[in-house]
C-alpha cells in the first residue's frame, strides 16, 4: 500500500547540515493503522508530510497505492492529494466557512456537482456524529468536534490513506479517546489505511497495530505494537516503555495507598 524507500531530507543552515530524515525504509499494508512514534525533533512530522509532499524529500521514493508520489508533477500531485486525506494537530479548519462548507471544500476542488456535494457532506457529517452542526462556524465547536470536522473533510473524497499529524495532541484525554474510537471505526468500516504520528504512547497502544520508532531521523525499530511493549529492542523504544512502566508502578503504589487514581 505505502512503500517508502531510501527517503532522506536535510536542512542546510549556514553553519551546518541537519539530517531530518536519514534513509527511511518503511512498508505499510493496506487497512493497517500504522503509528510512528518519536520524541520531539525526531523527524516524525517531516516524514508524514513527505507522504503528500507538503514537504519535499531530497532523495528516495514514496509509493502510495501503486502511484509513485515522489515523481509527480504539480497537477498530478494535486490529483493524488485528493486521495490522501490529512488531519492536523491544530485542526486547520477555515473560519470563514461553515462546518458544511469546510467539508464541502475538497469536493469543490475535485469539481463535483452541487447535488452530489450536498448529499455526500451530510453523509460524512452523520459518520462523524455532527449531523446537526452543518450550519455552525468552527468557532462554535469544541476541540473534539473541530477534529471531527477535520476528519470529515479529510475523508469526504474517499481517500486511500488518512495521514494524522498529531491529531489528538491538542485534545484532553477523554476527547482523545473518542477521536481514536472514531478513527478505529472508520478504519474498520472503510478498510482505510491510517498513518499517524504521535508522541503519546496511549495513542499507539489504543489503536495502532504496527509501528515504527523514529530517532534523530532514522527508523530504529519497526514491528507490531505488542512487540514494542513486550520486548522493546531499541534504546528509544526502551526509554518510551520505561516511562509508562514508571507511571504504572507509581499508580499501583498510589492506588495501594488509597489515592484512587
Amino acid at each position: 500500500m505505502i512503500r517508502i524507500e531510501h527517503v532522506s531530507k536535510s536542512y542546510r543552515t549556514p553553519k551546518s547540515t541537519v539530517n531530518v530524515l536519514d534513509d527511511i525504509q518503511l512498508n505499510i499494508a493496506k487497512g493497517d493503522i500504522f503509528g510512528i512514534i518519536g520524541f520531539s525533533g525526531a523527524g516524525k512530522s517531516t516524514l508524514i508530510r513527505c507522504l503528500n509532499r507538503l514537504e519535499e524529500p531530497d532523495t528516495g521514493t514514496i509509493e502510495i497505492n501503486g502511484r509513485i508520489i515522489t515523481g509527480l508533477k504539480d497537477k498530478e500531485l494535486r490529483a493524488a492529494r485528493e486521495k490522501i486525506g490529512m488531519i492536523f494537530q491544530e485542526f486547520n479548519l477555515f473560519d470563514s466557512m461553515t462546518v458544511f462548507q469546510n467539508v464541502a471544500f475538497p469536493l469543490k476542488v475535485a469539481g463535483h456537482p452541487k447535488a452530489f456535494i450536498h448529499h455526500r457532506v451530510h453523509e460524512m457529517l452523520e459518520l462523524v456524529n455532527l449531523g446537526d452542526k452543518a450550519k455552525l462556524h468552527p468557532s462554535q465547536l469544541s476541540g473534539g468536534q473541530k477534529q471531527r470536522v477535520g476528519i470529515a473533510r479529510a475523508l469526504v473524497n474517499q481517500p486511500d490513506v488518512l495521514l494524522s499529524d498529531e491529531a489528538t495532541s491538542a485534545l484532553d484525554p477523554q476527547t482523545t479517546y473518542s477521536i481514536l474510537e472514531l478513527l478505529r471505526e472508520i478504519n474498520r468500516k472503510l478498510n482505510l489505511t491510517i498513518v499517524l504520528i504521535t508522541h503519546e504512547l496511549d495513542v499507539l497502544q489504543h489503536i495502532c497495530r504496527n509501528m515504527a520508532v523514529l530517532e534523530a531521523g532514522r527508523i530504529v525499530e519497526t514491528g507490531t505494537v505488542d512487540k514494542f511493549f513486550m520486548n522493546p529492542e531499541s534504546d528509544t523504544a526502551r526509554r518510551f516503555v520505561h516511562i509508562i512502566e514508571h507511571y504504572r508502578d507509581k499508580r499501583v503504589v498510589m492506588e495501594g495507598m488509597g489515592a484512587g487514581i
Binding site: 477555515f94 476542488v109 468557532s139 473524497n157
Partner: protein, 220 residues
C-alpha cells in the same frame, strides 16, 4: 461667515469624495494584486518565486520612498497622457491611485499574512490549485483584517487628496488653501477642517462596523 460658505464647502466635499472613491478603487485593485503577489511568492508561499518577490518588493519600496507631493509632480505627464490635463480632480485620481497602491499593497500583504500557514496547508492537502487557495481560502480568511487595513488606506488617501489640492486637484484641501489661507477666509478654513474631521470619522466607523460584523459572523 458669508453666504457662499455652504456652496463652496458642498462643492469641495463632492470633489473630495469623487477623488477618494475612485482613487481608493484603483489603488485597491492594484494594491490587492501587489499584496497577493508578495504573499504567494515569498519563501514557502503557494507559488514560491524569490525573484518576483524581490522585484515587487523593491518597486513598492521605491514608490513609497518618494514624498507624495513630489510623486504628483513626477506623475503629471502620465495624468496628461491619460486624462488630457494635469488640473482638476480627475487628473489627481491618476497620481492618487499610483501613490496609494504600494501602501495598500503592504497593508494587504500584512493582512494576508495573518492567515495561518496550517490553513493553507490544509487546502493544499486536499489538492486545491493555487488560484483556488487564494480566492477561496486566503482572501476570505483574511477578510476582517483586510477591511481594517483598507480603512487605514482610505483615510490615508483622503489625506493625500488634501495634499493634491495644494497643486490644483480641487476638493476640500484646495478650498482650505485657496480661500482659507490665500484669501484669509478663516470661516472656510475652520469649516473645511471640521468637514474633513467628520469625513474621516465616518470612514473609520464604517470600516470598524464592517470588520466587526464579519468577525461576529465567524466568532459568535
Amino acid at each position: 461667515m458669508r453666504d457662499d460658505l455652504f456652496e463652496l464647502l458642498w462643492e469641495g466635499l463632492l470633489e473630495t469624495l469623487y477623488m477618494v472613491a475612485w482613487s481608493s478603487l484603483f489603488a485597491l485593485l492594484i494594491g490587492t494584486v501587489l499584496g497577493i503577489i508578495l504573499v504567494v511568492t515569498e519563501k514557502g508561499g503557494i507559488i514560491e518565486s524569490p525573484v518576483l518577490h524581490k522585484v515587487i518588493g523593491t518597486l513598492i519600496n521605491s514608490v513609497r520612498s518618494i514624498p507624495f507631493i513630489i510623486l504628483i509632480v513626477l506623475l503629471l505627464p502620465l495624468s496628461r497622457l491619460i486624462i488630457g490635463t494635469t488640473l482638476g480632480p480627475t487628473a489627481a485620481i491618476v497620481s492618487l491611485s499610483i501613490g496609494a497602491a504600494p501602501f495598500l499593497g503592504r497593508i494587504i500583504e500584512n493582512s494576508l499574512k495573518e492567515v495561518s500557514a496550517g490553513k493553507i496547508e490544509a487546502a493544499k492537502s486536499v489538492g486545491a490549485p493555487p488560484f483556488m487557495i487564494i480566492l477561496q481560502v486566503l482572501i476570505p480568511e483574511a477578510l476582517p483584517a483586510l477591511v481594517r487595513g483598507m480603512t487605514i488606506a482610505v483615510i490615508a488617501i483622503t489625506e493625500f487628496t488634501a495634499v493634491a489640492g495644494a497643486i490644483g486637484a480641487g476638493g476640500l484641501g484646495s478650498l482650505a488653501i485657496r480661500f482659507g489661507y490665500q484669501r484669509f477666509r478663516e470661516d472656510i478654513l475652520i469649516a473645511t477642517v471640521l468637514v474633513i474631521i467628520l469625513l474621516i470619522q465616518i470612514i473609520q466607523w464604517s470600516g470598524d462596523w464592517i470588520s466587526k460584523s464579519l468577525y461576529n459572523k465567524r466568532f459568535k
